[in-house]
Amino acid sequence: MVLGNARRGRSGARIAGGLALAGVALAGCAASVPPVAPGTLAVVGAESQYADVAAQVGGRYVSVVAVMNNPNADPHGFEVSPSVAREVARARLVVQNGAGYDDFMRVVEAATPSPRRRVVVAQRVLGLASSIPNPHLWYGPATMPAVAAAIEADLARLEPAHRAYFAARLARFDVAMGALRARIAAFAARFAGRRVATTEPVGDYLLSALGLVNATPFRFQADVMNGVDPAPQDVGTVESLLTGRRVAALLVNAQVSSPVTTTLTGLAQGAHVPVVALYETMPRGFTYQRWMTAEIDAIERALTTGRSTRRLT
């Protein structure tokens, strides 16, 4: 009996030690989030492209962090860390995509309720259903102007003193968006109707704005996006598009590789079909508009000179 008690006491001490360790670990996580600069609003963008637009509109009155900003990782496989929860908990404004793409943000927001926080969801701003099959909304040319306007409205409500400043920043962003739309229109005037193949629906909204025809079955693109094996029939269809040179370019998701995409890239190279990398999150060193322009330039280079662009620089 006494022995039993002693043993229980020891295990109790061990549990207490374990809890203390866990506490230290949690404190470590908490400390790893850098402080917000004084006089600025904490803003979180779920993806680096939304963080960039928020920074462009908010200017010097916002401190923006991006949750998903590793251009080498597949965003669909993202898992949240405690530091993300800390960032979201103290944020006054959160910008996210929605459409099931960044559901982890909803979970984190529900776990850290804050009446002072405003949330901009691109899918809701655009009035789309959350079940929309292709969630890569930021590739649509109408998306960011609408999201930027929603960000501006929320920032003006949070900091009415800087209302005029935010409005001016939004106007400047809209000018850049106008230039992007002009670029897209010029591309479409020249290349509308050209056929391309893709591995994923990542850039599909941009491709249709550019007037390009995506010859890849959507089922195949969705299967690759969702990490399940595409049907052999669909693989055969896409392979014959490349080997038969029935498309002008193969557009691959730069952040996702699987045996299927590797095989397709190899086939495209063998058939001298140029390969263009489309990024799923904004690569480092770009703004949203420069990123989109670089992608369009890369596609144009592929269509005119047959050159591949495997990385944006």
Partner: protein, 286 residues
Amino acid sequence: MHWLVEPGFWSNPVVGPALILGAVVAAVSAAVGVVVVVRGQSFAGHALTDVAMAGGAGASLVGATPLVGFLLAGIVGGASIEAAGAERVRDRDVATGVVLGGAAGLTALLLYFVSSSTSATGSTQSVLFGSVFTVSPSVVPLGVAVAAATLATLFGVRRPLLLSSLSPELAAARGVRPRVVSLVFVVVLAASVALSALVIGAILSTALLVGPASAALRVSRGLVGATVGAIVAGVAAVELGIVASYDSFYWSAAHRSVPVSACVVAVVLVEVAASAGWSRWRRGRG
């Protein structure tokens, strides 16, 4: 053949390698499986699949061919179960369970790293459940070579192996060293698990290992007959599974195919059920 195979089957670029690799893998799994069932090592076989899983996840993390990862991890894991040296069945059971749990945990960690830091996608799906249609054709020669080496080794040690499985005392009297035999066999087992992990995934490779073998052992009398029967049943299961998976594209208007692994396991289950029914019917008559 039109009643069985939907159009485009033979000309499809991914079907050919799948059929070849599938047949080879099924033959090895079935032959090894007969010994596994006779030795009562189904659980150890399953543990090796979990170890192989960790290896496959590690391979996709460093960008290597999954087969190499499956193989290395399986051999290391199998040797460590063997080296734990559990003589009694119960100790062996526990050692196997511990290795299994540890390997599954390691798999979870590695797959997390894969999806959060590299661009490899779908690794979870392909490591756990296999994807023979996406196996690169360049892996086929390596797979066939590993399969041939595995079968040759199994054939070479078949006598001491079966003797020590069926009658350890007699084997010892004949000068068979049981530890050496077990070690060789666990390496053979690891290789066969690694191969079938490619086709139907690490988790499901137990089905291909144990299913055809147990069905054949029920139906046939001698071990030679059982091995031949198991190979026939295993190859049939994989090839029919590939055909069914291909055909399933046309079963629904949305063209949602059923994965190969699910189709193969379904055929294996039918075979096991049929063999059980057959042996019951025969016993009823006899």
